[in-house]
């Protein structure tokens, strides 16, 4: 088996280099009990969304005029799109800084990023009060060009549904190529050169636009002024939000790769993971450096280290980012999957904490009232997250998303509903004569 593998593909020069190709999961059942539970939560969430469609926000959520933004905005959009910035972070590293190794994990990042953005934007659609006026987004003379909110409300859907969708289009076309009839194959042979021509230009948009709106998410909070605790309120918040997006993007992609490879018994690729770990550590240090310089320049260092309530929150958040930054400098940590998983998880928590705290704990309007999300709010937020998770599991099972050995590819895509074969089948490399998208 091993000898056959090596003759079939010479791209993997060493045995540690296992990730060569996006390969669908072809074994094991798709509908596991966990997935059914997630689908149940998603169904409850979607049902509540349907209720929200006919109900005003007031009886539904516990938002009030002091805390006008609930978790749909502050968590599902402002926080989770940081985790969904994998395509931005990895894409910049791969295409702009020419880290060729990372191309193989781009699809995992792209699918997870798309799902974070899409579910967040859907949740946002139920959060805004007067959605019927949103058609103004296509009327440029109505735009208030100095508003960060405008930038986000236009760029986020544009990025998610145009540029990011185009970037993952080959994933779907490839499946169509292998499962479709002759006519669709002929069509795809016709369009795939066009897509290849357009690709390097289209992905420029896929990197410039998230750079804009991920920083604008921080820019949003500048107008909140003194309502946000001075440890967080700072003119460099747009830059920090962008760095946190890169940090979470790398961290979450590592975390996701390790978790799903563990789940589907894929071998790991030390080369790619080490590269990602190095980049994550670098972004963590860059983030902390900007944070420190900012605190010193604004003269808020004593507030940050006052060891009172908010200071502890700051210290916890910073240590959650500092720990992986330092730990991942050590080769033994980088190359041990378990510690890499732990450190990536810490960085995810730290990065999302930085994105979530200024809109939640550190958001202190003078006429302070209480806000804790109501049950329907929580269920809708959880529902969209579960829906994203379910969609990711399906994507992994029916499309060539997860990285793997090229020889593991056996092309037997199944239509939906059919159970995966429970018994392992001999791996037959059937790709040798195919020419894909």
């Amino acid at each position: 088996m091993k000898g056959q593998q090596l003759t079939a593909d010479k791209r993997g020069t060493t045995l540690i280099n296992h990730w060569q190709y996006g390969v669908p999961v072809t074994r094991g059942p798709v509908l596991t009990p966990v997935l059914l539970v997630l689908m149940g939560i998603a169904a409850i969430g979607l049902g509540l969304c349907a209720v929200r469609f006919f109900s005003p926000l007031g009886p539904f959520s516990s938002m009030n005029s002091a805390y006008a933004w609930g978790i749909w905005k502050t968590f599902n959009v402002m926080t989770l799109t940081a985790l969904g910035s994998g395509p931005l972070a990895l894409g910049l590293a791969a295409w702009v800084f020419n880290r060729q190794k990372l191309h193989v994990v781009m699809r995992t990042a792209l699918v997870s990023g798309f799902l974070f953005y899409a579910t967040g934007l859907c949740a946002l659609g139920f959060d805004i009060g007067r959605p019927w006026n949103f058609y103004s987004a296509i009327l440029p003379w109505r735009w208030n060009s100095e508003s960060a909110m405008l930038e986000i409300s236009i760029c986020m859907p544009l990025y998610c549904f145009i540029f990011l969708s185009f970037e993952i289009l080959p994933l779907f076309l490839e499946r169509l190529y292998y499962t479709g009839n002759e006519k669709s194959r002929a069509f795809l042979r016709h369009v795939s050169p066009v897509i290849r021509k357009a690709y390097p230009f289209a992905i420029i948009g896929a990197y410039v636009i998230p750079l804009m709106h991920q920083s604008s998410l921080g820019g949003l909070l500048l107008l909140a002024g003194t309502k946000i605790n001075p440890i967080w309120q700072s003119p460099v918040m747009p830059l920090l939000y962008l760095l946190a997006a890169g940090l979470c993007g790398f961290a979450f992609t590592i975390f996701l790769l390790l978790v799903v490879c563990l789940r589907y018994a894929r071998v790991l690729d030390a080369g790619v993971l080490t590269e990602l770990a190095n980049l994550l550590s670098g972004v963590c240090f860059a983030f902390l450096a900007v944070r420190l310089v900012d605190l010193v320049v604004r003269g808020q260092l004593h507030t940050a280290f006052a060891l009172n309530g908010m200071s502890w929150v700051f210290l916890l958040e910073t240590s959650l980012i500092l720990a992986p930054a330092i730990a991942l400098r050590f080769r033994r940590v980088r190359e041990t999957p378990r510690s890499l998983l732990n450190m990536a998880a810490l960085a995810c928590v730290g990065g999302t904490a930085y994105r979530f705290i200024p809109t939640s704990i550190a958001y202190m309007p003078p006429h302070s009232t209480r806000y804790f999300p109501s049950a329907p709010e929580l269920l809708i937020a959880a529902g969209w997250i579960s829906l994203g998770t379910v969609a990711f599991v399906f994507a992994v099972n029916y499309f060539a998303v997860l990285p793997g050995e090229a020889t593991a590819w056996d092309h037997t895509f199944r239509p939906f509903g059919w159970p995966h074969r429970a018994t392992p089948s001999p791996l037959v490399p059937a790709i040798t004569v195919e020419s894909g998208i």
Binding site: R11, P56, G58, G129, R142, E146, P170, P200, S435
Partner: protein, 313 residues
Amino acid sequence: MSVALSRRQAFKVMIGLGGVAVSTVLPKTLSAEEHPAHPVAPPDAIGMLYDSTICTGCKACMPACNEANGLAADSVLSGGIWDMPTGLNAQTKNIIELYQDPHSDEFAFVKKQCMHCLDPACVTGCPFGSLEKSDWGAVTWNSSLCIGCRYCEVACPFEVPQFEWESWNPKIVKCEFCYDQRLKKDLEPACTAACPTGAVIFGKRADLLAKAKDRITNAPGKYYEDRVYGEHEAGGTQVLYLSSVSFQKIGLPKLGTTSLGHYATKVTSLIYKWLSGPILMAGVLGFFIRRNWNRHELERLEHEKETGFPDQL
């Protein structure tokens, strides 16, 4: 004289000429700042002066406001009998609040409504220009442009805009200086017209500011910090306050003198000027992506020839 230019050279010349044009035009447009740190009130700016030491708390302004704006009385607390709001809310654009010190007999009334800032944060943040600075500086809301994002509520340092949480067709409820209802008909706002004691008066902002300063000089030590709240707060507001007790005690937040719009847009307005920042970024990224794409393509063809495995995007 004819000089043969190659296409590349022609492009270079065009870029050079464009650069010269931009470098002459750019400094001029940049100097005209849209959000100065300390905005100057236009000469026709109107205002309100509220003197907490004169107000007797009769609340005559509240039903007058409700009547002028067609708002129903908020009678939840009073058991459906009379208007009894606990603060600005979806049915209350104007309220008289009482501050009482629990340990001494110090007390003061305060009138709350939109401050009509000179450079309002809500207007800066409103994505489709639903909130805007209208004639005479009144900050008004346009229902046909609002998407209900509630950024105005997050941005307003005085927590004035109120969202109709209970309505299927929610509106942003805030004092609009009676712009449509009275100002356009040459009438003063309902609250100042109704005030029997002259605690809140209407006029040009400049006149009111002078009047307030006169009151301070005529009665030294009477007013808190001998200053007018709203002269410089958040870049200056068109509603001015005089009080004998601390402004913070009667619920007016302690704010810097810089306008929030300036703070929030001073960097981004440079980056997004004519989208120059994003376009520049697209150029730089595009250059590297194109170069690495070509490298990637070469490698791909080589691999495909060697192994027969097609590349995946």
